[in-house]
Symmetry: C2
Subunit: 515 residues, 2 copies
């Protein structure tokens, strides 16, 4: 992977941030992003793909998409050759796909610790935590509004999670900080409590600008202009609507060469048709329009084909997770993204359960496995999601993060070297023997099997003696252990001081706003 | 699928059992076995397959396999061209694979209700419950030795589970009945409390003979000799050992044209090498030898390529479930089975957890998903398995059985009919609208999304008002509801009487034996 090696060298040579990170004394064990050695599961045949792609072009041309409260966007679309009627943009067949061609197939998102930079695209999978919940839950404190203290604890847990490659963004909404200022505290937490890559703010264009400014302090202004150091989440108001707030944030990031996930937000049956093929048509039309728009802002700006997909319980209207229909959309969207030559974001540890119980785990595991098999390149919400995304759960964060190790193991696939073939072991042991003590086992057992760091593998009697703890109780103990062991990664005090000054200045420049 | 239709017609016309079943008044909703419309995930490339297949032949020829305490088997092998030294059978390269050619690629296992007969092989997946646990657990009674009453309750739950196609075998070990007589009561429970297909006894050859005799009473003697009405589990004593008890049962079933799963029992690192490729080599060698032996007994006898695979926690020696290495073996074994042209048995709702908690669900869901994607045709243990198979859990039975609906939904794949394309819906709703009320949604919502029958989809406040129940508590309620609603399927009283008389006679013919 020469591009990646090049970009790593570039990052290392790229200035103060890299050198500062290398002086960091404490280095927790973090797995490299996943490089798949297994195929993707492809559920769409050629005929279905062609129908869906043709229908998406029909949607863009005939129905069109709305860019609301955004005259500048309408003007850009007119200049590109679209027909604009009011706020409705009708995109001639083929134009959006043509515009998407300048978007890179893969890109590096740099972390301040260059060992933790990630390569998004190709056969890779980068895992990031839950995003957006206004509530948190743990066994002892129950369900409550999230605070900045909770936010910091989640960032710490993410930093210490071996299989999490990315620190994420709004790991929970710190509701004790003013809405117009919390992005500053959230970014500061990601920048100082972790050295993994992170996401920028999207809730107002000015907050996206603040994100770019803070990143420029952390990485250096030149570095940020020439490299991608943030990947941020731009949701489409499905169906077919691009609002001014999200597009404003996208404009800021694209202009500054920072990455954006262009992501339809689909609850099947509500924001999209009840069928898989119909939903895929709409998802593709929306992504084509959104990615094309990013390339109108700045050709070559890094973007990701996003698809947040759940189904709906038609009895209650509740979104449902880990369902087969959402999985089929996710598999299909992966194929459509690869045909477009774009990195793909979807899946996550989704669940509707109120507790980190069996329901939560069934639904999450269905979705995590589907994410790996569908060729996802960037998986947001890969740990900590509870209750349809209303709640970030501390226990579920560490349980899910542990399961991400399963994805790493699966992605390795099967190799057949001499050692893998193990013919000497089979000869040594023979019929009726056992392998525990044989030479091959002794030489290879340490790396042979993935092992959970939190689940129970004890004999029944020992488990019962120790209090018959369920997974939630084991996870509570692990959260405490990790937070107790946490050590902050080194950051140049001058950079830290500059970040603090920027935040203080921004906070005093306007009054607090809530809601 | 003309063969299948043929076999169904044959079953319907096939005698008293079919006509009797059709008179059954109560008919619970049972989904047809899964017919996959999605591809398999294939983890082995051509080179790896060829290495593993060549190595398996080397194992059979050079190392050989043991057929213990079984001079007749050794004689059959000698006559077939193998070299026998003591109890060790060295099988010349290619011989075992050649012998496997007479085994059918697919077969029908008839149920006494012909609507519930299953077609094992091809793109199909037949789901059967947990097999073998000496303990049971439920929330109220805790963990305890299983009894015949528990056994009957599991058969009832299986009968009422929509997504379970098969009644299974030893759904738990009824420890309150003598070891030498419990098979009679177990078979009677499957035959009378359910009308789904079932498994025969394998713990002694004479018990396999009893199984055939009882099946002959149920289906008619001619029908049994000409059709497969039982699929039974023949475990190989891995590594490379075929013991006289299991082979004796196999001999009975093969002679009577009844199906057998020839199944290596692998705890990776103990009964097989610690590597995936090494384990696959041994699994293939063992299945080749076992299936070849079944064809020496009776060419054309129906058999299934089995692979029970778990990994091991090298710290404690405990078997571990839902792990990536076990999944990779399962995917690879599926490819090897298809190359051999045999139906494939693997996967299940495996877990090591002591409780039906998040651990149980993560591990089970990993394994269930892998089972679907690896092309399994017969999945034993698809619901109810707990604590490494030591415990059959009532709550987990209904939770897992519900998740089997997810597999049914995924297997449907994606179709792209006019209705699926939903272009009229996308036109009707347009940018910024919503789909809940549109014509297409109203016409299609009932069949659009899989919906759990046990998990929680309620709003938070309602869920909290109703007692903040976790999945286990919801499952406890569902177990009670199902057992309360249970109605026994009709069985001709004369057949029932004949079964009872056979059992009474057999029970009085020998003293009770325990252990």
């Amino acid at each position: 992977m020469p591009e990646q090696e090049q970009s790593r060298r570039r990052a290392r040579g790229g200035g103060g941030a890299a050198r500062r990170a290398e002086r960091s004394a404490v280095n927790f064990d973090t797995a490299k992003y996943i490089e798949r050695n297994i195929p993707n599961l492809e559920v769409l045949n050629e005929e279905a793909i062609e129908i869906i792609e043709a229908n998406a072009e029909t949607v863009l041309e005939e129905i069109g998409v709305n860019f609301t409260d955004n005259p500048a966007a309408l003007q850009l679309w007119r200049e590109a050759g679209a027909t604009v009627v009011g706020e409705r943009v009708h995109i001639p067949r083929g134009l959006a796909r043509k515009l998407c061609e300048t978007a890179p197939a893969r890109f590096t998102q740099h972390a301040r610790n260059p060992e933790r930079s990630v390569e998004i695209g190709g056969r890779n999978l980068v895992l990031a935590p839950v995003y957006g919940p206004p509530f948190v839950r743990d066994a002892e404190g129950g369900r409550r509004y999230a605070t900045m203290e909770d936010f910091r604890n989640f960032v710490k847990l993410g930093y210490m999670s071996k299989y999490l490659h990315h620190s994420g963004g709004t790991v929970c909404e710190p509701t004790d900080v003013a809405v117009n200022k919390r992005h500053l505290d959230m970014l500061y937490a990601h920048m100082t409590l972790s050295d993994k890559p992170f996401m920028g703010s999207v809730t107002e264009p000015v907050r996206a600008e603040d994100s770019v400014k803070m990143a420029s302090i952390l990485f250096g202004e030149d570095f940020v202009q020439n490299n991608t150091v943030m990947t941020s989440l731009i949701n489409i108001n499905s169906p077919l609507t691009f609002d001014a707030t999200m597009m404003g944030a996208l404009e800021v990031y694209a202009k500054n060469n920072q990455a954006a996930i262009i992501s339809p937000f689909i609850v099947g049956g509500a924001m999209a048709p009840v069928t898989v093929a119909g939903t895929l048509t709409q998802v593709l039309a929306e992504v084509l329009a959104g990615v094309a728009y990013s390339q109108l802002i700045r050709p070559g700006a890094p973007v990701i084909f996003g698809a947040f997909v759940t189904s709906i319980d038609m009895n209650s209207g509740a979104p449902t997770f880990g369902t087969p229909e959402a999985s089929l959309v996710t598999y299909g969207a992966g194929q459509l993204a690869r045909r477009l030559g774009l990195p793909y974001r979807s899946a996550g540890a989704f669940c509707g359960s109120k507790l980190p119980d069996a329901q939560a785990a069934y639904e999450s595991s269905n979705s995590l496995n589907m994410g790996l098999m569908s060729g996802v390149n960037f998986m947001l919400h890969s740990c900590g999601w509870l209750e349809g995304g209303l709640v970030a759960s501390f226990e579920k964060f560490v349980l899910d993060a542990d399961q991400l190790g399963v994805l790493h193991g699966l992605a390795k696939g099967v190799t057949a070297s001499e050692t893998d073939q193990a013919m000497d072991a089979i000869r040594e042991v023979g019929p009726g023997g056992h392998y525990l003590g044989c030479n091959h086992t002794q030489a290879n057992f340490k790396s042979a099997f993935w092992r959970s760091d939190v689940l129970d593998y004890k004999p029944y009697e020992q488990w019962a003696d120790e209090g018959s703890r369920d997974s939630q109780a084991l996870a509570t103990a692990r959260v405490k252990k990790l937070l107790g062991d946490y050590v902050q990664p080194y950051l140049d005090p001058a950079v830290d001081q500059a970040l603090k000054e920027f935040i203080a200045e921004r906070k005093t420049s306007e009054p607090d706003a809530f809601g």
